[in-house]
Amino acid sequence: MTVKVQAENFDLAQEMALLTDDDKSVGAVVSFVGLVRDLHAGEKIQSLILEHYPGMTEKALESIEYEAKSRWQLRQCMIIHRIGQLKPQDQIVLVLVSSAHRSEAFKACEFIMDYLKTQAPFWKKEITEKGERWVDARLSDDEAHARWQ
């Protein structure tokens, strides 16, 4: 299990190599990479500032990984979430899941993202031409989380 909260960018190929690391039982790796969009609620985003709750963030992400591993037969999980200031098109989050077969890895990857969106203490603030604003939580994210319960 690996959880990283960092300002630096990440490299998918490099992280995937670390995840599989000579494990010949792995038959599937599913990855999700979240990117910063340039438009939200009709307004152009200049940049995004990611705030988090140091300590709780790591605990929450580890607990989400643990839950995923208890539900599906997985080999490894990795979550990287960036913090600080990001620009449109920047990578913001990476979830990597490896398993023997694809079905478990697909489901677990989606599960981890749905939980992360609603349970991990990150907050986005958008910088637009009109000023700054905190992003509101979305009902659709709560619904996506609820279907796993």
């Binding site: 705030e51 709780m56 979430h81 203490p121 990150f122 905190w134 939580a137």
Partner: protein
């Protein structure tokens, strides 16, 4: 009893405070009672903690519901619904 309280994101900005050591009466022993206690400070505190806005809470870095109990020396955090990912 003494509590270590932390505030994040929009909550932190509105009250202009990232955290405080607070001594509360012993009967303030749940999140909902602590919210009522903080709402009594008036102004923006009332707006945030009078129950009309959805403010989430964590006790010792675990997300909890409003009826969760709190005890002395707990780390209690208040923040808006999360928006990561």
């Amino acid at each position: 009893m003494n509590l270590n309280i932390l505030y994040f994101a929009r909550v932190k900005e509105l009250i202009n405070l990232s955290g405080e050591e607070l001594i509360v009466p012993a009967e303030v022993d749940t999140i909902v009672k602590l919210k009522v206690y903080l709402a009594q400070r008036g102004g923006v505190w009332t707006e945030l903690f009078n129950g009309k806005q959805l403010i989430r809470a964590a006790v010792n870095q675990t997300l909890v519901s409003d009826n969760a109990t709190i005890k002395k020396e707990d780390e209690v955090a208040f923040f808006p619904p999360v928006t990561g990912g």
